[in-house]
């Protein structure tokens, strides 16, 4: 019987390669991997060729939507290598980390009651956010603090073990970051350092506690003898989360040697400094060692220092380094429980009679797992852990989500590069630069093989200059910039996105456990030939085609479920009603939202419908504009069954709403929906009924809404009147139009109406042919009895931002002109600013034409008498035939 513990670096291709070699040599009869044991039944799926990394294990609590955790795996992840090795050689593989049932469980009641309450408050309102954050994959990392500090690991815990010690910081941070509570965690914990770091790291954003705890860390790491780590500590302190860790380094560590403690502090610090994101404390002990050795990239350091040592077993060296790092350090809190659980799992495997046990875990845990601890003390640590029901499944992941920039604490900077390192059979430098050249060529940058040759030479020369055995990503990027891109930065950024990060997305087989909703969506995706991808893609759908119509419905329904896979591109409401443009981009967290939405129904349609109905009938009913938006979505998503409910809610709401302006605002989207209905073949009868009711109410309520308004209110109402008017013109229902115009003309004559509105109503009526006595009205308005301010407002409303009518109607212009000329100086001064504002809106040519006319107003009006009708007739006929098919032609052509 022997137990071998392999300390790896999460998502490190160097680790993965070394691990593959070591496992092949040792041929273990069981492989134990750091990961949630609930996933054990899913392990055989990893042998399925349809399961393509990057993928992630998703643990969620089916009963209470919200908490979720991810454990991502890329092809180059050592855990994945271990898993594939076990499956290929037919030996059992098990996950041995603390079960997600415990990590996702709410906190035990005995800790920090005050935070627990805050917690609940927060939970009530922020389930969504928590899960979102989880998906954001802040996820990662185990958190030392979460359960202690009363953080029900609702937050994402991430890939446990990712960064071991760092990891605990991370998780904690995730947890608190989401919740915003958690300061108490610091105080309580026995080992303030450790937990403190987690808590602070999280809050990252500058809670005062951070600074304090950070300071000692920084100073500690500055201890002489540890130049590298000192540097890190300092750098780390830049990110608030770091500070906390630094503290942990110093305080918890007890400083058994300057070097050691310095490194530790530094390590945490540097982890935090990572990319300065929310990861606060990224657990990357190997990264710290690498940085201490002057390397920016831990992979590069691993390759240079560990793998280049030849056949020597790197794991022994790593274990030794970690042992030195952890000297005098006692795990506590969640980390302690995790390590206890892992030890128990190893004991269990040994008891079951396995001879050669291989344990694959984050390097940080190696010393703890090798340590001789009595089983009884581990059992004591694990007693009475809170538990929650957890479901686990595989979900597709993307390289973008593996990057640190995405908020994934144990993320790596360059998944694409690591993938390349892992998969390239040989000559990684040449292959990489060739691939770069291909990407650049695809984007139209002319790059020849000659360029590639020179880039390889430059990269190699740089590597030599920097004393590195092989060019790494830094050298390759610089060679790419200097040779392939000829100094330009833009193509370099392109390479960064397409290659260094990569746009790869994983896939999971049919047999993966899924909620029925996911199955339904996959079936729909297949049927509609829409493949989820991690790359943005535009689709233009022609709604007259059944396939495209179905696609559009699916995307709209998913939007109802908060799965914004497609976002309408460009103008959401284009001129045409039969074309839609969508931008499709799949994010891994959509799977979580689907799982959550699984509560609403088993198919996308059903779930969307249930969601809409629930929203419409919520106890606190949404207001009118929300309801109309809901109705519109209902139509777009083709949910006829939900429509009556929404309509009823809408009708009730409209009946109860006394505010006519709200009714007016609600009308346009509904009318738009009516028009869409035709193209989409949705039954619109209930909608029509609601619209009819709205129009009647608006017409009745308008006089009330329009009385005694100040300038601002009048202006606001003016905009609404305009849109309603346009909407009714679009709807083209004679009954509505008549009613509307009638109420307008009644209103326009009211002397108490605001001048702006009176002017605009007159204009609308004039355009509709309902005003015959315009000169009389105008002269009434501008006569001496009317205050000049009102006259000016009337003119503004009447002209409605265009001087055309004045240019073409000399009678009106001369009326206006004589009014202006006759104004006494004091009134002129009062009216001038208003008129100035009105005229300033006109286009420059209009103003010029107006001025020309105003200069000689007495000229005879141009007469139409000399038109040669015979010659004009063919032109008129052609114009009419052009207009006719689209239905724009006037009903009675003259």
């Amino acid at each position: 019987m022997s137990v071998e513990v392999y300390g790896i670096r999460h998502h490190g291709p160097g680790s993965a390669r070394a691990l593959a070699r070591a496992l092949a040599a040792r041929r273990p009869d069981i492989v134990l991997i750091e990961g949630p044991p609930e996933a054990d039944p899913l392990l055989p799926l990893a042998a399925d060729p349809a399961l393509v990394p990057p993928i992630a294990l998703l643990a969620h609590t089916p009963d209470t939507p919200g908490p979720a955790a991810f454990w991502p795996f890329a092809a180059f992840s050592p855990e994945w290598t271990a898993l594939r090795h076990a499956l290929a050689s037919g030996v059992p593989a098990r996950f041995i980390d603390l079960p997600a049932a415990h990590t996702l469980a709410p906190n035990p009641p005995d800790t920090a009651p005050q935070t627990t309450t805050t917690e609940e408050d927060a939970d009530g309102t922020s389930t969504r956010r928590a899960s979102d954050a989880a998906t954001r994959a802040a996820a990662t990392g185990d958190d030392a603090s979460s359960s202690e500090s009363a953080e029900p690991a609702r937050a994402q815990r991430g890939r446990p073990g990712v960064g071991e010690s760092g990891a605990h910081g991370v998780g904690g941070s995730g947890a608190q970051g989401v919740r915003g509570s958690g300061a108490p965690g610091v105080g309580e914990s026995g080992a303030p350092g450790v937990r403190g770091s987690g808590a602070h790291g999280v809050r990252g954003s500058g809670a005062p506690g951070v600074g304090e705890s950070g300071a000692p860390g920084v100073r500690g790491s500055g201890a002489p003898g540890v130049r590298g780590s000192g540097a890190h500590g300092v750098r780390g302190s830049g990110a608030p989360g770091v500070g906390g860790n630094g503290a942990h380094g110093v305080g918890g560590r007890g400083a058994p040697g300057v070097g050691g403690s310095g490194v530790q502090g530094g390590w945490v610090g540097s982890a935090g400094s990572g990319e300065g994101g929310m990861e606060g404390v990224l657990g990357d002990p190997l990264g710290v060692l690498a940085r201490a050795a002057g390397y920016e990239d831990a992979e590069r350091w691993w390759d240079d220092v560990i793998e280049m040592r030849g056949e020597e077993d790197p794991f022994a060296a790593v274990a030794e380094a970690m042992g030195a790092l952890r000297e005098g350090y006692a795990a506590s809190g969640r980390e302690e429980r995790r390590e206890a659980w892992m030890r128990q799992a190893i004991r269990k495997a040994v008891r079951e009679g396995y001879e050669r046990v291989a344990v694959v875990c984050g390097a940080w845990h190696v010393p703890a797992l090798r340590e001789k601890v009595p089983a009884s003390s581990d059992a004591a640590v694990l007693r009475g852990l809170p538990k929650v029901k957890v479901a686990v499944t595989w979900v597709p992941w993307t390289y973008g989500r593996l990057t640190r920039a995405s908020g994934y604490g144990a993320g790596v900077a360059s998944p694409g590069w690591y993938d390349h390192l892992f998969t390239a059979p040989d000559r990684p430098v040449e292959r990489w630069l060739t691939a770069t050249a291909r990407v650049l060529r695809e984007e139209g940058v002319p790059v020849s093989s000659g360029h590639v040759i020179e880039a390889v030479r430059l990269a190699e020369a740089l590597a030599v200059l920097r004393g590195r055995p092989l060019p790494g990503l830094d050298e390759l990027t610089e060679a790419t910039r200097a040779v392939l891109c000829e100094g330009a930065d833009l193509p370099v950024a392109l390479v960064q996105r397409r290659l260094v990060v990569g746009e790869r997305m994983g896939a999971v087989p049919e047999s993966t456990p899924m909620v029925p909703l996911q199955h339904d969506l996959r079936a729909a995706q297949r049927r509609l030939r829409l493949k989820p991808a991690a790359e943005k893609k535009d689709h233009t759908l022609d709604l007259r085609k059944p396939l495209d119509l179905d696609r559009s419905r699916l995307l709209h329904r998913l939007r109802v479920l908060d799965v914004e896979w497609g976002s309408p591109a460009g103008a959401e409401r284009g001129k045409g009603t039969f074309k839609e443009t969508w931008t499709l981009l799949w994010h891994p967290e959509f799977d979580v939202r689907l799982i959550e939405a699984g509560a609403w129904g088993t198919t996308v349609e059903e779930a969307a419908r249930a969601r809409v109905v629930a929203a419409a009938t919520a106890t606190k009913p949404p207001d009118l504009p929300e309801l109309t938006a809901l109705a519109e979505r209902c139509l777009l998503a083709d949910l006829p069954a939900a429509l009556p409910v929404v309509m009823r809610a809408l009708a009730d709401r409209a009946a109860a709403d006394r505010d006519t302006t709200r009714l007016m605002a609600a009308l346009p989207p509904l009318a738009r929906s009516l028009r869409y209905g035709d193209v989409r073949g949705t039954p619109v009868a209930p909608l029509r009924a609601v619209v009819d009711g709205l129009v009647v109410r608006i017409c009745l309520g308008l006089p009330g809404a329009a009385s005694t308004l100040d300038d601002d209110a009048a202006r606001a109402l003016l905009a609404l009147v305009d849109t309603v008017h346009e909407t009714l013109a679009l709807l083209d229902v004679p009954e509505h139009t008549d009613r509307w115009l009638a109420s307008l003309s009644a209103l326009a004559d009211s002397p108490s109406l605001h001048g702006l509105l009176a002017g605009r109503l007159t204009r609308l009526l004039l355009d509709a042919g309902r005003v015959t006595d315009l000169p009389a009205r105008m002269s009434r308005t501008v006569s001496v009895g009317t205050p000049p301010e009102r006259a000016a407002a009337w003119i503004e409303g009447f002209l409605s931002d265009s001087a055309l009518i004045l240019i073409h109607d000399d009678a009106l212009l001369s009326l206006l002109d004589s009014w202006l000329g006759a104004l006494p100086p004091s009134s002129f001064e009062a009216a001038l600013p208003l008129l100035r504002r009105t005229f300033a809106r006109f286009a420059a040519p209009e103003r010029r034409a107006l001025a020309t006319r105003a200069r000689r107003p007495a000229t005879a009006p141009a007469s139409d008498d000399d038109l040669d009708l015979a010659r004009a007739a063919p032109a008129v006929a052609t114009v009419l035939s052009l207009l006719a098919p689209s239905g724009i032609a006037p009903k009675e052509p003259r």
């Binding site: 020179e454 740089l462 030599v464 200059l465 060679a479 910039r481 200097a482």
Partner: protein, 360 residues
């Protein structure tokens, strides 16, 4: 014979280069006087094992110099791009001095640079008297560099007419220069390479053909990243120039330097350093090099006509001249800047008055 006005880099820093060569135990590429590591150290500064301090010649990202040195070490040609005044020529001179010990193999690119400057010319008296002969041949700096395995420098490559630029293609790809008149050729000795500089502000004067472009590795020299870097560059150069011109160092130098650098940076970026106010950008380049000459000019004024202390009045004239290149539009921009930015700053009263006086 009097002292030269401006010694070449290899003369001025002969002591540093000598120490570097003595202590340099790394492998040197063929034809190189120093190893690539030592060249990098010479450019970026540092302290040698015997305590000799190497002054930094270039203040900026280390990786740029590393890429440049690695390029030359692979006997590729190096193209230094950048807006005027970003130390392109300076870097090229020091690279040549460190690598070949000779920075004088220089072709200055102008619109009138003839092909002879890149290839070879003839001593016509001899040519007529003796016919074509090696003695009648007048070598260009490039040809000499090829014979000696040294670094040739081409300044302002984009100003050179295209046909003359193309004469470089054979040199760079075949590493040979045929002389058909003598039925012979000059083959480059190892160590030969070319450092060209080009200004990417007026790109398109004579844009490089892609055939030529592809024979260069390109390094873009940026304007200094931070105000502190720039102040450092300016004060260091001013101190050196001051020494060369035997100007005593005035006392309030640094404050005034910082002010000039701030003005230049703000006008160049179109934004004040605090990021709150937008300003218009004048037509001039306002490079670090110009800031250096403004300060040097100010020091000369202060020394010879003032009290030896650098006052705002001493630099005001220089700044005005550097900013106002176009007498109409730049003048307006400069006055706007004075009235809206300079005037508001509490400690800048003297400077504001001095500038007003000059521009009035």
């Amino acid at each position: 014979m009097g002292e030269v006005l401006r010694p070449h880099a290899e003369q001025e820093y002969a002591a540093e280069l000598g120490r570097l060569a003595e202590l340099d135990d790394r492998p040197r590429p063929p034809g190189w006087k120093l190893s690539p590591w030592a060249v990098t150290e010479y450019l970026l500064g540092g302290e040698l094992s015997d305590g000799t301090v190497i002054t930094p010649k270039y203040i900026g990202p280390r990786r740029l110099i590393e890429v440049a040195v690695a390029t030359l070490a692979t006997d590729r040609a190096l193209l230094l791009l950048g807006v005027p005044g970003t130390a392109k020529t300076w870097v090229s001179e020091h690279l040549a001095a460190a690598i070949s010990g000779d920075s004088t193999l220089l072709v200055q690119g102008t619109a009138g640079t003839p092909e002879e400057a890149v290839r070879y010319g003839w001593n016509y008296a001899r040519l007529l008297a003796e016919g074509p002969s090696p003695q009648a041949l007048v070598e260009s700096p490039v040809m000499r560099a090829m014979r000696r395995g040294a670094v040739a420098r081409v300044e302002e490559l984009t100003r050179v007419p295209s046909d003359v630029q193309d004469a470089l293609i054979t040199v760079l790809s075949e590493k040979t220069l045929p002389v058909p008149e003598l039925n012979t050729e000059v083959q480059a000795v190892r160590g030969f390479t070319v450092i060209a500089t080009a200004n990417d502000r007026d790109r398109g004067v004579n844009e490089l053909s892609s055939a030529l472009r592809r024979r260069f590795n390109t390094v873009v020299l940026p304007v200094p990243a931070s105000a502190d870097d720039e102040v450092e560059i300016v004060s260091q150069r001013v101190a050196q120039l001051g020494r060369a011109l035997e100007l005593p160092e005035p006392t309030t130098g640094l404050a005034e330097i910082r002010r000039v650098v701030t003005v230049f940076r703000e006008l160049r970026a179109g934004l004040t350093e605090d990021g709150r106010t937008k300003v218009k950008t004048p037509s001039g380049t306002l490079s670090t090099a110009e800031a250096i000459s403004v300060i040097t000019g100010g020091i000369a004024l202060a020394t010879h006509f003032g009290d030896g202390v650098l006052h705002p009045a001493d630099v005001a004239g220089g700044i005005h001249g550097a900013v106002v290149q176009d007498p109409v539009s730049d003048r307006v921009i400069w006055q706007e800047y004075l009235e809206t930015v300079v005037r508001e700053r509490p400690d800048w009263g003297d400077f504001y008055r001095a500038c007003r006086e000059v521009s009035a």
